[in-house]
């Protein structure tokens, strides 16, 4: 009983006190909450103010950086911001965009960590209406049109001390109309620091097959890719996904490069299997000889072997030779001569009708061999003008017949970054059926075409070897 009374008495004293304490705590919490709210609002105002300031700064054209004279670039030995001078980042520092997000702002000297370039290549062609109906022109489906063939956006540079990357995205007209196709032209990673003179390139690339296959459309010395490449590999040449490995020995008295590659084999014209389990294997050997200070010769041989979608072997062996004469002190070659050829060995299937009832009794497999080549010469007596002619002769790899063509042209270079070209191409085909079975009428046996080409380079553009 006594204990009960003590408990009641204590409760009577302590409960109001506890209630009062709780009330005080709640008031304190409310005050703190309000203070936090005020602080948050203040921070928000600061952030808004800084954001507005940042937007204003971004909207202003960035000045070209002018590094202070005689100040060496920061190196590992002379760090730009030594440890002793470091300070904690302020709110402004934290809000300021940093690399790589702010790369676009830093247009000053050496600030961008990679190069960006744009090239535009526009082609116009005029030909007979019968050729247009048959779709038998060099730019099939785009006869008698002026169109952007290749507008290319390039990003390239060092990834780190061990590798570089090249990415090229291109847009162009593939069929008449307002639509333009955008595609990944190339994306490669090159490992630069492999031992024993080796190097590896991975990704999607223009294969190093012959010397002209690696050259992009806008850099070709002609309006169109040679017929032998177009007939054997398609309009774009050989572009594949996979890996290439090169070896450059250092013990020979001349330059030699040996290449081996493994690819998916997506090229529909020559291969098309598209599986790494049955890959397209490529190889190339190229040698270079400085004949004199002014004359040089490059010879090479290439091979590509893969399978067609119906598992038939397709192998293409090629040669290439290029000669240049560049008089001492000239800014351009006076004379360039070149030839490339491809010998195609393709297994094909042919239906055999033994009893003449119109249906095939069995399918016979055979190897179809075909050969194509071109010869080219260019004379550039003046810096701004070049004249040249190319002769093409190509058998068809999967059907009988062949075609030949001759294409003289004139190139005019107002500057290093701008070029205009006019060309005439006459093509004669022995096979009438190739283009006359498309139901549109017309014909593709004799084709006369006039080409006009305009090409520009904007920004960075890497140099080309020989």
């Amino acid at each position: 009983m006594r204990a009960l009374l003590v408990t009641i008495a204590l409760s009577a004293v302590l409960l109001p006190a506890a209630a009062a304490a709780q009330s005080e705590d709640a008031a304190a919490l409310r005050r703190e909450l309000e203070q936090l709210k005020r602080q948050q609002e203040q921070y928000q105002r600061t952030i808004d103010s800084l954001s507005q300031r940042l937007q204003r700064l971004e909207s202003q054209p960035p000045p070209v950086a002018t590094p202070p004279a005689a100040q060496p670039a920061p190196t590992a030995q002379t760090p730009a911001n030594p440890q002793g001078q470091m300070r904690p980042p302020s709110v402004t520092d934290l809000l300021r965009p940093r690399q790589p997000f702010a790369l676009y702002q830093q247009r000053g000297a050496g600030q961008l960590l990679f190069d960006i370039g744009v090239t535009g290549d526009f082609v116009g062609n005029i030909t007979q209406s019968s050729v247009q109906k048959a779709g038998a022109g060099t730019f099939s489906g785009r006869e008698n049109r002026f169109f952007p063939r290749e507008v290319e956006l390039s990003f390239f540079g060092q990834v780190d001390p061990y590798a570089r990357a090249d990415v090229r995205i291109e847009a162009g007209e593939e069929a008449p109309g307002a639509e333009t196709t955008v595609s990944l032209a190339e994306a490669t990673l090159t490992l630069l620091t492999l031992p024993y003179g080796t190097q590896a390139r991975l990704g999607q690339m223009r294969n190093r097959y012959g010397w002209s296959n690696v050259v992009h459309e806008h850099d070709l010395p002609w309006v169109d890719r040679p017929d032998v490449y177009r007939v054997f590999f398609g309009e774009d040449g050989l572009v594949e996904k996979g890996a290439e490995f090169t070896w450059v020995p250092d013990f020979l008295p001349f330059y030699l490069m040996v290449l081996g590659g493994i690819f998916d084999g997506d090229n529909e014209t020559a291969f098309g299997r598209g599986r790494l389990s049955q890959p397209l294997a490529t190889g190339r050997v190229v040698a270079f000889f400085d004949l004199t200070d002014t004359m040089a010769l490059q010879v090479g041989s290439s091979v590509a072997s893969g399978e067609t979608p119906n598992r038939l072997t397709s192998t293409l062996v090629g040669y290439d030779i290029k000669f240049k004469y560049r008089p001492d002190g000239w800014l351009h070659p006076l004379l360039t001569l070149s030839s490339e050829g491809i010998y195609s060995m393709r297994r094909t299937e042919r239906g055999v009708d033994l009893n003449g009832d119109g249906s095939f009794d069995f399918v016979q497999r055979q190897t179809r061999n075909s050969f194509g080549w071109y010869g080219w010469g260019e004379l550039q007596p003046w810096r701004r003008w070049a004249l040249g002619v190319r002769y093409d002769s190509t058998q068809y790899p999967a059907t009988p017949g062949y075609q030949w063509a001759v294409e003289p042209y004139v190139s005019f270079y107002p500057s290093e970054f701008l070029r205009f070209r006019v060309a005439y191409k006459h093509t004669a085909r022995t096979n009438r059926d190739l283009f006359e079975l498309n139901g549109e009428g017309g014909g593709g046996r004799l084709v006369d075409e006039w080409f006009f080409q305009a090409t520009f380079i904007l920004g960075a553009h890497p140099a080309h070897a020989f």
Partner: protein
């Protein structure tokens, strides 16, 4: 086939794993490749008997538009170091270096020596630049190598680069450099004396590749024959330059051996000035076989023509 691909992938992984370049044997000479002959000459002066130096270009060439030959790649394949000018004068060297498959000299490699670092660069654009200005160099004029006043920082960069590869030879490189600079100083006194009477004279250049040299000896580049860098002159521009030469009584037009010497002569005939071919690089003209000889040739030719 899958087994073959497996082996192939293993080989690839093994190759990628071994990224360290092989060490340089101490016994043999350092093999150095310079992108231009001026830097070859300076590297020879610094390296002495301890280095073998080759140049990728000749003095008679325009370094802006050097053709990347695979033979360059062979030289670079064997190189321990490459000495490059920088400031985009020899940007083509990147293509040759990549094609050489030599890990020592790729960007970031120990054997990559870029000379423009530490140079007081002239004609750095202070406004936004674009290609309407021609083949403009956004980081400044890269033709500094034949300014004798810059030989000291250039050779210091070379010494540092070579000593990074062969630290045991640093003292020898430093001594070679000191000897070379002493020799250069004695010539400098003579050159300054020769140029003193013509100080302040105006000259016309075909391509703006002499500005460092002219500034060093107190000459003024009054006009450039090229309309804009790298772009051949238009008739209207030539008319303006000829008028300026006449008005300002300019005596000399400087032209590089690789440039349009005939055009420079024609402008000279029209305007009354004398077109003289300068040693725009070591080996550009007869008698300019090394760094000091090239500068000596330019000084004596210019001093004679301006008197």
């Amino acid at each position: 086939m899958k087994k073959r691909i497996g082996v192939f992938v293993l080989l690839l992984v093994a190759a990628v794993a071994v990224v360290a370049p092989p060490p340089i044997q101490a016994a043999r000479k350092l093999r150095v490749v310079a992108t231009i002959p001026d830097l070859k000459s300076l590297t020879e002066a610094v390296g002495g008997d301890l280095v073998d130096v080759e140049s990728l270009t000749r003095g008679t060439q325009n370094f802006h538009e050097a053709e990347v030959r695979p033979s360059m790649m062979l030289k670079l394949r064997r190189a321990d170091a490459v000495v490059e000018n920088g400031l985009d004068l020899d940007a083509w060297a990147d293509v040759a270096i990549e094609g050489s498959n030599n890990p020592n000299i790729v960007r970031g490699g120990r054997g990559r020596i870029e000379i423009s670092r530490g140079i007081e660069v002239l004609e750095v654009p202070t406004t936004r630049v674009d290609r309407s200005m021609g083949d403009v160099h956004p980081r400044g004029n890269p033709h500094f190598s034949l300014d004798p006043g810059l030989a000291a920082p250039i050779t210091q960069t070379i010494v540092d680069g070579l000593a990074g590869l062969a630290p045991e030879h640093r003292a020898a490189f430093e001594q070679n450099r000191k000897n070379f600079l002493t020799q250069l100083d004695s010539h400098m006194a003579e050159w300054t004396k020769l140029m003193e009477p013509v100080k302040g004279s105006k000259v016309v250049v075909f391509h703006p590749d002499m500005i460092y040299f002219l500034t060093r000896f107190g000459l003024v580049q009054a006009a450039v024959l090229e309309d804009r860098p790298g772009i051949p002159p238009s008739p209207q521009h030539l008319v303006n330059v000829i008028r300026q030469i006449k008005d300002e009584r300019i005596k000399v037009i400087l032209v590089e051996p690789w440039n349009d010497v005939k055009l420079a002569n024609r402008v000279g005939e029209e305007s009354g000035a004398k077109a003289i071919v300068v040693a725009s690089a070591v080996g550009a003209v007869k008698g300019a076989d090394n760094y000091i000889a090239a500068i000596d040739y330019n000084i004596k030719t210019l001093a004679g023509a301006l008197r």
